[in-house]
């Protein structure tokens, strides 16, 4: 009670159980009379001895604390003395606000016990805060200032929570212990109380204890007195020191400040000056102190008036802002100073402390600044380049722009101020980088110490027209703040010129150096060509010289000397016509003669006539011309038909053998098309097979027949037709055809082929019939599925009102007979709905349109989740289910449908299990496939049942009207498993011996993936 501290839970609980009763204070009734009646001299002797003991103890304490002037020391002494005594304990309770702090001094035996208590209640005794106001005994002592003699037990019960009190009393054995409580005073006010405790205390001890309390109180008073004196002394010393310090500080400050400082009295007489004054003015201290500034020449006349006016104002208590005066030195120099003065007390009299600040430099700087700003402004306004100033905050904003930049951006000043340079740039720069990002990079560079940076930049005008600019950025400081200064130069024209120059040069270089023709350039003197200026790679390659060698030569050096060219005539012609085409030969380094067709043109290079030659190596052409002539002779006399035609099919050449075979007169060749000699029945084949083959592959070969246009006789040939292409451009030029007469070999083959064809036809007919039948069956099946689907769908709509409204009717029906009828109806509707839905589901699974969406899953995970979702079902039927599926099998499945399959099989197993049956799910890994088994110990199946159970609408027990089953669950399961590429079957040892359903699934065997997956999951 009245004591606030945390109690351990056990004690709290105990406490709750006990009803808290009000505890009265029992002052020990001391019946002197009785004691006298039963006077026992032995006891009296002991009591006397005890009393002496106590008196001795108290006296010892009193002596010891007599001269002590420290509160803590006093209590320490009391504690020590008590600790040495065997019988007594002392407590001192000091009041601080309404909380009181308890100090307990016990002898060693009790100390041990207290430690035990502390452990039990979980709190240190020294940490007790006792609210004395809640203890009646304490309150009596403190409020009334009386000494009490009580049983310690009562005190304990009052000041501690009940359980704590119980523990204390039990351990301390305080049953008979008495307690003398007496107030302690400090400055005539009660400041706490002293309690002396012992089992041997008697009322006779009270005076001694009171005496001790009085001594303690006196000591406490003494402490207070001494403390007061000490404090006063301390304050005095402190003030003195502060005074000294401040004076010292002032003097130091006064002298150490470089600026001149003067203290003048209210009339203007110098009372004190610092070194700054003598230094600046060259006057000595003695020349100034004691004199009035008005009588000296230290300031100009004008300044004297200002100073005096301001001094007067200040003395009148008006604050004056800093002002400027001119000071004249002893040498006659005039210096501007800013004056800042303040009224002070100087040795009790009003004075003025005047601080001068040399502003010569500042004035100079201001002047210079003004000039340079004017200059800058002029430059800014009239510059031919755009100049802007921008704020350098988080987003850069224009603050000012010169007229030129406004012109560049095509806008007015109000359009641009406050906007960012980014607003005037396209989103991306030509390198493809974000303008915004680039701008911030550049500014960062500047802020990191670069003086200025120039770069090319794409800007855009306010109407979004882009222009190229060269931008120079720099950081400038105005009035201590950093700004971004930019100079913009429009370089659109330069950029355009640069680009077109670059392009044309690139074009020229590409043309010159990569040309397949031989290119060269050489100069031209009056009478002969000069050395090569430039040659291309092809030229070097063909003539087998290096470029360096060729640049030392002229075209004349290379020309075949056997070619008799009139060089002078040639040059004249070139100069006149500026453009000459001719054939010649040049000799390569190894002596090869290279025939060339050369086209010379005169061009101006660096304003000099230069010949640009384009030569083409015509060796191949020459060779081909010769070869062709040889070939023509061979072809002409060949025994096989050789024929050339245009791409359109017009004949342009036919050799002798061909003329004979086709009955075409040599003069008439060019009048015929090649189709003229193809028999009618082959025309289609030629168009559909021969022509495409030539177009796609470049040739066709195979058997054909040709018709003689005079006699209409047909000749069997083996023909090879191919395209003749332009060797340079690869463009097809002609159709060539070589054909050999195979009429004799062919005649025998024809009969054989006919027999073969007949047989083939027969076969094909038979096959077609089979195909037709299969298709018919397939169509019928599909019709069945479609019919079921349609029927299902048509049934679903009218089912709605039945399914949704009849249950409401049933619920609301009060008549029990009608209610029962409605229940039967509802049950049947439910069954019907189930049947319709399952039927449609099966039809959908059968349909080829239905697609499964496969995803990779872990077999164990999905089986686990299905088992968990069916928990209620197993619980209701009290089925024990065990899942032995191994954990590292991954499969690719349509999750929803696979769950449906598992649900069907599990439901099936539960339905045919007896109560408290068991179902075991297991898996067997065969490498490519996993076989999953669901085994129950239910009613089992016959062989017949096993055979038909996966058929649609099959029910093992026809007689049973089973509302939960549609008879389609297993058919649906079978379809689902088949779509996954697996099989399903069932096994049973017969009726009553349980069933096992098996199904297989392909395993997803990508080990790498598995490892990664696991890694991620982990």
């Amino acid at each position: 009670m009245g004591c606030r501290f945390e109690e351990p839970d056990i004690i709290k609980d105990l406490r709750e159980e006990e009803k808290l009763g009000k505890l009265g204070v029992k002052t020990l009734e001391f019946k002197e009379k009785h004691q006298i009646d039963n006077l026992d001299f032995n006891k009296l002797d002991i009591a006397f001895k005890d009393h002496l003991n106590l008196v001795e103890l108290i006296e010892e304490i009193t002596v010891k604390i007599h001269d002590v002037v420290d509160e803590n020391e006093i209590f320490r002494i009391i504690e020590n003395q008590i600790r040495n005594s065997e019988k007594y304990s002392a407590s001192i309770l000091l009041l601080t606000d309404d909380k009181t702090k308890l100090r307990i001094a016990c002898n060693s035996e009790e100390t041990t016990k207290i430690k035990k208590i502390e452990r039990l209640i979980g709190k240190k005794s020294s940490n007790y805060k006792i609210s004395y106001k809640k203890s009646k005994i304490y309150r009596n002592i403190i409020d009334e200032g009386k000494t009490h003699f009580v049983k310690l037990k009562d005190v304990i019960i009052e000041i501690f929570p009940k359980i704590t009190a119980k523990i204390i009393l039990k351990i301390m054995n305080y049953e008979e212990t008495k307690d003398v409580l007496t107030p302690l005073y400090r400055n005539n006010e009660i400041c706490g109380l002293l309690a002396i405790t012992s089992s041997d205390l008697g009322e006779y001890c009270i005076p001694s204890i009171k005496n001790l309390a009085r001594h303690i109180s006196l000591s406490l008073d003494k402490i207070d007195k001494q403390n007061k004196i000490k404090e006063v002394n301390k304050d005095l010393i402190k003030s003195k020191k502060m005074l000294e310090e401040s004076s010292h500080y002032f003097r130091n400050l006064f002298n150490s400040i470089a600026d001149p400082i003067a203290i003048v009295d209210s009339k203007g007489k110098f009372l004190e000056i610092n070194e700054g004054v003598t230094k600046y003015t060259n006057y000595t201290r003695n020349e100034l102190i004691g004199k009035n500034f008005l009588t000296t020449k230290i300031v100009t006349k004008k300044s004297k008036i200002i100073l005096l006016t301001n001094l007067t104002k200040r003395m009148a208590g008006i604050n004056i802002k800093p002002y400027i005066v001119n000071i004249i030195t002893k040498d006659g120099d005039k210096l501007p100073f800013e004056v800042n003065a303040q009224k002070i007390e100087y040795f009790g009299k009003p004075a003025d402390i005047v601080i001068f600040r040399d502003i010569t430099e500042r004035i100079k700087t201001e002047k210079a600044l003004k000039i340079s700003e004017d200059k800058y402004r002029t430059l800014f306004e009239t510059s031919d380049e755009g100049i802007f100033i921008a704020d350098l905050n988080d987003d850069i904003k224009f603050i000012d722009c010169n007229p030129k930049s406004l012109k560049m951006f095509g806008c007015k000043k109000e359009d641009i101020i406050g906007k960012s340079p980014i607003d005037f740039s396209p989103e991306y720069q030509s390198e493809g980088l974000l303008s915004k990002k680039l701008v911030f990079e550049k500014i960062n560079d500047l802020l990191n110490g670069l003086n200025n940076i120039s770069f090319e930049w794409k800007h855009k005008q306010i109407n979004n027209i882009e222009f190229d600019a060269e931008v120079t950025l720099a950081i400038i400081e105005l009035e201590g703040k950093k700004y971004l200064q930019g100079i913009i130069r429009d370089i659109t024209e330069r950029k355009k010129a640069e680009i077109s120059l670059k392009e044309s040069e690139e074009k020229y270089r590409a043309l010159f150096f990569n040309n397949v023709d031989l290119l060269f350039m050489h100069g031209l003197d009056d009478d002969k060509p000069t050395n090569f200026i430039e040659v291309n790679e092809k030229f070097c390659e063909t003539l087998e010289y290096t470029k360096e060698e060729l640049l030392e030569m002229n075209p004349w050096d290379l020309t075949d000397k056997h070619m008799q060219i009139d060089i002078n005539g040639f040059l004249v012609k070139l100069k006149e016509e500026r453009d000459v085409l001719f054939e010649t030969s040049m000799i390569s380094k190894t002596g090869n003669k290279i025939p060339l067709e050369i086209h010379n043109t005169i061009i101006r290079v660096n304003s000099r006539n230069t010949v640009l030659g384009i030569a083409r190596d015509i060796t191949e052409r020459k060779t081909a011309e010769e070869e062709l002539q040889k070939l023509a002779a061979v072809v002409k006399h060949s025994g096989e038909l050789v024929n050339l035609a245009t791409l359109e099919g017009k004949m342009i050449f036919l050799n002798e053998a061909g003329e004979k075979m086709l009955g075409i007169h040599p003069n008439q060749v060019k009048k015929h098309m090649i189709y003229d000699v193809i028999p009618k029945d082959l025309q289609f084949m030629v168009k559909k097979q021969v022509v495409p083959s030539i177009i796609n592959k470049g040739f066709w070969e195979g058997e054909l027949r040709y018709k003689n246009i005079e006699t209409n006789d047909e000749t069997y040939v083996y023909a090879l037709t191919f395209l003749i292409e332009d060797p340079e451009t690869n463009k097809p030029l002609y159709l060539a055809n070589v054909s050999r007469d195979i009429t004799d070999q062919k005649r025998d083959g024809i009969k054989l082929e006919k027999a073969h064809t007949d047989l083939k036809e027969l076969n094909e007919k038979l096959e077609d019939k089979v195909k037709d039948r299969t298709k018919q069956i397939h169509d019928l099946l599909q019709q069945k599925d479609e019919f079921i689907n349609q029927l299902g769908h048509d049934l679903k709509n009218p089912l709605g009102p039945l399914v949704n409204l009849l249950p409401i009717v049933e619920k609301e029906e009060k008549d029990p007979t009608l209610k029962e009828m409605l229940q039967v109806i509802n049950r049947n509707i439910d069954y019907m709905k189930n049947l319709v839905i399952k039927t449609i589901q099966l039809a959908r699974l059968n349909s080829s349109k239905t697609e499964f969406t496969y995803e990779d899953s872990n077999l164990l995970d999905i089986i686990n989740s299905t088992v968990i979702s069916n928990k209620l079902l197993f619980k209701e039927s009290r089925i024990y289910i065990k899942n032995n599926v191994s954990k590292d099998i991954n499969i690719s499945i349509d999750k929803l449908r696979f769950e449906e399959l598992l649900n069907n099989l599990l439901n099936n197993s539960v339905k045919f299990s007896k109560e408290s049956g068991r179902i075991i799910i297991d898996s067997k890994n065969d490498g490519d496939f996993v076989t999953i088994s669901i085994k129950d110990n239910g009613i089992g199946m016959t062989d017949k049942q096993i055979k038909f159970m996966f058929d649609e609408f099959y029910k093992a027990d026809e007689s049973r009207h089973d509302f939960d089953s549609s008879g389609l669950g297993l058919s649906i399961s079978k379809k689902i498993i088949e779509k996954h590429g697996g099989k399903i079957w069932a096994e049973s040892d017969g009726l009553g011996k349980g069933s096992t359903f098996y199904f297989t699934l392909p395993i997803k065997s990508n080990e790498k993936d598995d490892i990664n997956l696991n890694g991620i999951i982990k």
Binding site: K796, N804, I808, I840
Partner: protein, 127 residues
């Protein structure tokens, strides 16, 4: 009140949905509309419903067409639409779930139906 609009060409279906919802929860105020034109007319002249239940197979204007018309209008765009159909093909179901808030297949389970509708309305209101 939770205002639900049902659009279906069959009067019996409209009646069924209305009664099912109103029986399950007195808070439902079910408006039945028998074709697309009337639906748009109603939306123009009356307060917006909290949810529209839309049959897909309707003559003249199909559920899909009506859906487009409702979503084209800025004021009606936020009304949740749930498709309600006896169609059984995957396409209808997937498209219904993708475009609408939900797709409910007829015949529906009354409890599940009411639960789904309430869920959509609550989600809409919390948003």
């Amino acid at each position: 009140m939770k205002k639900i609009m049902v659009v279906d060409d069959e009067e019996d279906q409209l009646f069924t949905v209305k009664k099912t919802l109103e029986y399950a929860d007195k808070e439902f105020d079910v408006i039945t509309i028998n074709n697309g034109t009337n639906c748009l007319q109603y939306l123009k002249n009356n307060d917006q419903p909290d949810l529209i239940l839309l049959d897909i197979m309707m003559p003249e204007m199909t559920g899909w067409e009506l859906y487009d018309k409702i979503k084209e209008n800025n004021e009606w765009r936020e009304i949740p639409i749930v498709f309600l159909s006896a169609r059984t093909d995957d396409t209808a179901e997937n498209a219904g779930k993708f475009f609408g808030e939900d797709y409910i297949e007829k015949p529906f389970d009354s409890q599940d139906f009411v639960k789904r509708i309430n869920k959509i309305i609550n989600t809409k209101n919390t948003n």
